[in-house]
Subunit: 251 residues, 2 copies
């Protein structure tokens, strides 16, 4: 059984920092369910750390499994009541061109700061079978622990690319023949294209940024009838994807 | 200018407790936007408490307005960084029969424990113009501060009745001619009725309880295509209400 050194605990706990994650190309997932989903989706689990020797059943010949006390788990976890098992996982490198490969539909998310919201959006997209997600550079980091947790395993299913320059990526999509559709709080419902397109969602408070909106071919609006000022972004995403899938038979 | 006594600060801070709220029939709302929405929706604001004398502009001749220091606000608020203004509001008494008055559609929510989820569901229902909401006794309290906040003002729009006995209330609805439709994670999509009906949503983890499901006339299912195990409850609510409103022209 390998030994969980202080240096390793330090390494793992620092993976809760975005800059360190990006440097090490690793992130932490917490809890048995997420680890199972990660393994069955073929992502590379580098280490399993558990305070419960029975959890060592996750262990495969090529995964280092550390059995430790709860205090060590507590140092690595961001939860106030940590689960008995967590794991470090290799970040899977993704390129913009992979999002386009064989995909008529790309979901683009701009400037979403709330980790729970981003996680729920990814989970919702996965429900409807979305395979390609483009995430702007000013959104919360994809491997933030709260994002990972709230995807409930859907993080491991679509290809998700966090952009370094979303405007340039949107230009690339346009050059490759994708129509760009933005969402709007105003009246007017776009005709959705029947071929390659990218749906852009902006943050709840600010919407899609102007520099992106300027590049859109048309905009899409969910009609409201009551007195609420807006819809939650994950709720909007669900409604639009339902409409695209069920009503318009796209995606 | 009235004086904010220690006794009053104690009263107001205790309104963050469900039992005390139910006894006093009052609750706390925090922030200028929520207070504006509350006033414009005709709810009875009993006191305004502010650390910013400019906020006293909310004051109407019949609303007591207290100007105090930030420390007093901090004692009353549940936020770690409290807003500069909050208010106490009278709970509006609601009866089951009011939900039925002139309404073909009632949304019923069973066993939702997460306050943010309940608030987002109410906000979503308000977006689609739902006027009547029935909330089970085992759901989180409607006047919980996090529920209130996450409704983003929609709390003040529909009539919402928190049941003391949901099974008996569902029986009453049935006797009054409402069809009961439940949501299901299994296959099969119900034909939605064209007249009076009540849509029941259950908690994400447990669904609608069996004793309620047994009383349903049919069940409704949102098809999934990807690998996600489930949808977030507020997202499901949005999709179903969109479908009812836009596609089936009900509600």
């Amino acid at each position: 059984m390998p030994i969980l050194t202080h240096a390793l605990v330090k390494h793992l706990s620092q993976l809760q920092l975005k800059s360190y994650r990006n440097f090490e190309k690793e992130f932490i997932i917490e809890g048995a369910k997420l680890i199972e989903e990660c393994l069955s989706s073929g992502w590379e689990v580098t280490r399993i750390i558990t305070s419960d020797p029975n959890q060592a059943s996750f262990s495969m010949p090529d995964i280092l499994t550390y059995v430790c006390d709860e205090a060590a788990i507590k140092k690595i976890s961001t939860h106030s009541t940590p689960p008995s098992v967590l794991a470090s996982v290799k970040i899977r490198p993704t390129e913009l061109k992979q999002l386009m490969s064989g995909q008529q539909f790309i979901l683009c998310i701009d400037g979403v700061a709330d980790p729970g919201n981003l996680g729920t959006i990814i989970r919702t997209a996965d429900w409807f079978g979305v395979k390609s997600i483009l995430l702007s550079e000013n959104s919360v980091d994809l491997y933030n622990e709260k994002v990972v947790r709230s995807t409930m395993g859907s993080l491991f299913h679509p290809r998700i690319y966090q952009s370094k320059d979303i405007v340039s990526d949107i230009e690339s999509l346009k050059k490759s023949g994708y129509k760009i559709i933005t969402t709007s709080v105003n009246e007017g419902k776009a005709e959705l294209p029947n071929d390659n397109f990218c749906l852009m969602l902006g943050s709840e408070s600010h919407g899609v940024r102007h520099k992106l909106e300027d590049r859109a071919d048309s905009s899409y609006h969910i009609p409201g009838y009551g007195q609420a000022e807006s819809l939650n972004l994950a709720v909007s995403t669900g409604i639009i994807l339902y409409d695209l899938k069920e009503i318009k038979k796209l995606i």
